[in-house]
Symmetry: C2
Subunit: 331 residues, 2 copies
DNA sequence: CTCCTGAGATAAAACGTTTTCTACATCCGA
DNA sequence: TCGGATGTAGAAAACGTTTTATCTCAGGAG
């Protein structure tokens, strides 16, 4: 490790002078400063992160709490987007885990590592997060709303406006919805769904709305069976995510039916795979890349000027991705 | 932030004494030490990571270099497994990026952050990694071989032993293989494929082996078209990964053929999705969870006793996951 | 010629730990 | 009773920075 002391020695200057030069601070002549910077670069000097953090209490490190949702493509994309953006801005990212043996909370973990800010991209464990959210560490949440904190998410309500528009134009009038666990996202989606249906004058029998879990093909399979058993069967089923659709499709086939001939299906997320399936999956594509980037941007704003930062709810537009899983009933 | 000084003050002891108590070091009476620890816990004291790192030059932080493969389920699973294990062992993980604006290499980045060790889980950018690999930072690589460094990967050669056994028993004699980019993994797989075919006396015409890229449906689609155009068409096609299979399946359907009636297909990886497809995908399931865990274990061994650690190549067993995409030709 | 000003540089403190070195009792054996 | 172990505690240095306060030395004004 080459330290600032070595650079100072080589330059024949004091440590303080070198520090000023490297940080572009006054108190050293511009020419000498430039020279020092050049020498430092040649020596491949990079300031020790720990020392700098200790002194300045800024770590250039942001924490991400992610739970185990890493394996869902939608979240992976978000994380990748965050990573790429933060990297460009000179920040590292560290996973913040709650389940440590030591009874450390996420908040304490973040404090201990002196994270400049934290991104929350998970649903459960609210209790543990509260402490963090109420602290004065800058926080931005994804797909989740916290009092007084910025949240970034798809326009879940409006998405159903687009979706129902699309389905209506395809001639669908009996549309059922399988939704995920309760939470802001689900509530927004349900509201959007009902509003959009009302707009077109579509009736939504109570039994057309059935609960399942996100990303659980088995659950959505069960829900699908329920819907298929109805006397007045829907012509189209909306799934809470693309993976759930796969569970539904399995069930549909098991009943001797086929997509989209006997029943149409519509996903959510628009993971890469949806386009590769046969029939290709009509779905609502969430712009994960954008969601991640916006979240990162907001967090940096909050970090750089906490006093002036005003929290807000940022919605990111997605779009209907047409596909063969929805039959055109007009023909 | 509650510091050790506050704890010392509260206990009426010196900072040094408290430090010894907390770290279970001699030089303080056991009873008093226990009491100090209790007080510290009550005060919710957690040692400042930066200060500790600065002093001890151990960060309890390990670097992971991951490129943009985050969005591939196989790698996501590995990462998640690593994360879970490291967390249990009290380590945090930080992404190490090469592409920083500052001309910092991965090595310098790891040094700057004082990473106790680094996990490499990517393919390209060898040049940049060399410096890291040749340093004396503990390193473990996944799916990649470095001179004198531990590598963890599936038994790519033996996997084809199992795969060909399975296919042979299903009556297949003409088996084609689409493989990914050149590299250890691909080389091992090709060798294993040829060896297994020889074992069963299967002839492998040159045109049965065609190159594509990993995780690129379009590429594998092209390769598939090539294979389908052969006079002596194979009865089964092996794909470099499950996602590539999807590209192949699209092409097969486009030609008016169907899986598995006209041609059987076999994937690689065994991502969750493979079981949800219809027809379900026969594939080789890599034990990503185990791969991640073993890599993490090895890295910690290397960290804890660098002198005694001996690098090795760790192969993790996977298994054939049968599926409907392979037709039983015996019937 | 002296005094003041201000720029440019240094010295030193501080951040929160760990660790080494030193000091002080206490206890035991002679 | 005294000297030397022994065990417990404190003081202080160090890790590599940043930052504040202090110093030095020109140069210009009076």
């Amino acid at each position: 490790m080459v330290t600032i002391k070595m650079v100072a020695q080589r330059c024949g200057l004091s440590v303080g002078a070198v520090s000023k030069a490297l940080n572009h601070q006054p108190g050293i002549s511009p020419e000498k400063a430039a020279w020092v910077r050049q020498v430092a670069e040649e020596m491949r000097y990079y300031p020790n992160a720990a020392a700098r953090t200790l002194k300045t209490s800024r770590s250039n490190n942001i924490g991400v709490v992610f739970q185990n949702r890493l394996v869902h493509e939608y979240f992976s994309e978000i994380l990748e987007s965050i990573r790429a953006y933060m990297e460009k801005r000179g920040y590292d990212i560290t996973f913040l885990n709650d389940e440590r043996d030591s009874g450390m909370s996420v908040y304490e973990h973040a404090m201990q590592r002196q994270c400049d800010g934290v991104l929350i991209a998970q649903g459960s464990a609210r209790a543990d997060l509260d402490r963090l959210v109420q602290s004065d560490i800058p926080v931005v949440a994804i797909d989740q709303l916290f009092q007084g904190r910025t949240a970034v998410l798809s326009d879940n309500a409006d998405s159903f406006n687009q979706i129902i528009d699309y389905l209506y134009q395809m001639g669908h009038r009996r549309i059922a919805m399988i939704h995920g666990e309760d939470g802001e996202v689900t509530r927004m989606r349900l509201a959007g769904f009902h509003r959009a249906c009302r707009k077109w004058g579509l009736e939504v029998p109570e039994e057309y709305v059935v609960a399942a879990k996100f990303q659980e093909p088995k659950d959505s399979g069960l829900a699908t069976r329920q819907l298929l058993a109805l006397k007045n069967r829907p012509t189209c089923i909306l799934y809470p995510d693309d993976i759930s659709y796969l569970g539904g499709a399995t069930e549909i086939e098991r009943q001797g039916l086929s997509v989209p001939e006997d029943i149409s299906c519509f996903g959510y997320d628009g993971i890469r795979l949806s386009r590769l399936l046969r029939p290709s999956l009509a779905t609502y594509r969430q712009d994960a890349e954008q969601i991640g980037r916006r979240a990162a941007e907001e967090l940096l704003l909050a970090i750089e000027d906490p006093k002036c930062y005003v929290p807000q709810i940022v919605t990111v537009a997605g779009s209907v991705q047409p596909g063969d899983s929805v039959k055109d009933l007009n023909q």
